[in-house]
Amino acid sequence: MTLQPVNDNLHKDNLPGIALLQEIARLIQISQLYDDNNKSIIVAVHEFKQAIQASCAQCRQVALHIVNGRFFIQEEKLPLFRKNAKLFNHMLQFFEKRSIYGFHFDADLETVATNEILLFVRFLNLSDKYENPAEWLKTELKKNDIKWLEVIQEPTSMLHADSQESEFKRSEALVRKRETAKKAYHYSLNSVKEVAEKLHAGKETSIRKSVRMVQRMVDIIAEDDSAFFSLSTIRMYDDYTFIHSLNVALLAMSLGKEIGIERKMLAKLGLCGLFHDLGKIEIPKNILNKKGKLNDLEFSEIKKHSINSALMILKLKTDKYRKVHLFVSPFEHHIRYDYSGYPSVNRKHPISLFGRILTIVDVYDAITSPRIYRSTTMSPDKALGLMLVDSGKHFDPVLLKVFVNMLGVYPAGTLLIMDTGEMGLVQHCSEKSGSTRPNVQLLIQNDQKRYTKGNLIDLADRDPKTDKFIRNIIKTQHPSVYGIQPAKFLL
């Protein structure tokens, strides 16, 4: 079947859902006319991707359903106007002929190759030649490892849609939360960079933006900190100090929430985390990133950073009372619980609660972060194990316990190798068995040796016949060993 040309004028002022339908129609149409390298084809694929993105305000999936002869995008009925009637009719006929009742597209198709999208469209076109087109299409997609869409073979009744509504809404809310968290992460990162850069340039700097973002993060954490646990797995060489500072802020606030610190103080703790390493901007890069052991002089430079962080905080343009809360714990974050660290201070002054919190989260993030100057990185679970050895020495023992309980035995982002040969990233604790058998996002390596998302599984699941666990962990590793950025898969 050949589709009629679609009216271009529809496009401009249309709802995103209608635009998506239009792009699908266009793609189907021109894929029959041109080969893969044609410019029009490439443009059409690009437009299709954009239309998908536009249809999914902060969701993970775009659901296109056909119910009772009407199109629904994200469970919202597309309005039928005279101007789009022609398009609707053509597309309805097209899908009806193939017994296809819709698709679930991944919202983010940026990483999906153009030829993969074209392959899908060509299969879609071809499918009407087969006895069971929808089934055939599904099989072909599977064969070709096309996972960014799902074919709907059953009619979806609105009643059914209603019954799924709460689940759908939950998932929507989760997506929204993650997007909000990502945005807060992004802006916070920018804010701490801006503060550091201005201080480095000797300029006065206000921390209003950082305050605002920390408040935002406190609100998010108060509701659910899982998104931040995933975000705190982000690792980058270039922005290490800033990413580290932000991760420390996030983990510190989460730990603070766990022990019952009230929201206003949590925000202050978050700022302490954000600014705890400001002093590092004064340390020459060749020392910060030096491969191998530092000599005494270099190490003494490094040791100055906690004092310099406190000094930098004193230079911030903010009121004195805020500064008092901000500079103490950055000063303390390397002192250690048993005072064996630096700077060497009088033991008669107990280290502040914020200082003890920062000590824990700072070390955890540092040892789980790949660094230019060392070739090794510790997996999160081993990091916690190592830290437990120093419980009561470097770390407040009770706070460390809370921290371990908060992150779980296998913290989010830990790479697990299982006895099935599968590999996956810890998503969160299992509802069935707690943190020892977490929920795992399986990873699959494609032909280009890149990892893609597999299923989300629960390590607590048992084989109903044998009652044995289906999968067992045989090894944990840091995701960086495989060049994997956990947050990319967990969010």
């Binding site: 408040q215 004195k320 540092a366 070739s375 190592l386 960086s480 950025q485 947050a487």
Partner: protein, 547 residues
Amino acid sequence: MIKYYSQGKEPVGDTLTLVRQVLIALNGAFKKLLLYPSEHVIYQTSLNSLKDILDNFIDQHGDLVFNIDRHKILYQDEVVIEGPRDEENLAFILFRDGIYQLEFHQSIALWEINSFLEILQKYQVLTEDSENDVVTALWEVDLPCLSYRSEDVGFDTSEDFEIPESGVNESSQDDPGLEVEGIDNTLLDQSFQTPIQNRLLWEITSEDQEHLRNMLVEENDRERIEYVLYILLYILQQQTQPDDFSEVMAFLNQELQDAMLEHKYQSVYKTLQILKKNIDQHKAREHWSILILKEFFASVSSKTFLNVMQDDWPHIAECTPEELVYLNQALIMLNPEAIEALAPMLLETTSNQTKKLLMEVIGVLAERKFEYLNKLLSSTHSGLLEILIHVIKFMKSKESFQCLPELLHHESADVRKEVLKAIYHRNPKMISELGRLLEDPDEVVQQLFLIYAGQQRDLRTEKLLLDYLKNHRIRDGNKQFLFRVYISLGKCGSDESLPFLQKNLFFLSRFRILRSKRSLRRQAAEYALKEINTDKAKLMLNESSKR
């Protein structure tokens, strides 16, 4: 100019009228707050009126939800008010900071509305340097019945945040040989033998829970100022650049002021002591820090700094004796110019203990440099002057003594009396030079002078009194004064006075009649002789009794 949309335009007529009333009242109260202090009756009236109107709306229609769009406020998609794109317009202020929805909930209290308006007033104008905005301020006050929705504005949104594709270290190996600052690397292998699966290592016990609860309480109760000062001093000692050094000193200054307010005198004392030591250590080398430290001491000795104590004396008086000792020691470390701030406080405190403390401090500071106290002597009113003279009484410096005689001319008798006391205390012999006090208009001053004059045998005083008696005729009506002068003469005098006294005893009138035994002068001379009490004086007295 704010434009309120006319009633006829909206579909929900009555409701919209009420909404408009709320906004008019809100805007009115905001404008009043820009003009008057929050406790002013005009603002309070408009605030109360706003509350009534708001309550009226909420009673009838439930929570009031506004949407804000640039310079407009909307209610259920209807523009209710529209104003200029400047800080005069509430909508503009809210939208500028990212607030797009504002909700007033049932049971909203007057203080909440007031807080909201105060925040709007405080952050009406937002500069690049502002450390808060309406949103951050509202978040902090967390008003129970006023909520808002906001977007994050002012952030660079030009680039979407993309989680980096790769986990950076593709060539990295796992674990062994890890070198991490803050972790004993030799423990790495042990970590594999102490797997985290050992639940006992991290399971939270009931004791841990109790400990956590206490931890929070302890954190709230912990002594902060002492620690903060300690850290600031620690940071200060590490500074090698004048600018950084000054930065820390500026903060230290503020913290010390807080410490004073919180009566943490031991901390203040110790801090000042360390800084003084710093000056002493670097003095020889003329280090750049000396100047900054000196400026710091000048600053903490100023009225601006010390005025934190101004109204605090009733509370200071309640401090433990130990703390007061530290206060004394701390104040003594200030520069002498602190006298200018401290001296007026002598009138603020009613406690003898704190008054004594201040006087001691002023005395010590004035010994270092008398200039500041001296300045006060010529300008201060008599009440304070009396106390300051009392302070001078116990001082040692020449300068402080030299200022006293001049003060004997002060109009206040009480002041003159204190000056006399001070002079006598510091140099009793100087009494002989103060003969003019015999003519002091105040009887008490005269008496005191005579008491002091009679305190010890002194030829110069004796001569003073003799000369006075010889050259001044004291009227009989001034009997007591007459007696006192003679008695003082007796007390300070010697046989040198006997010829004069003899004349008083055995005075023969023109008609060669001996003065009556009852005559005042004879009686006075007898008193004097008794006080002189030498053999010759006794003989003379004996002879007098016979005649």
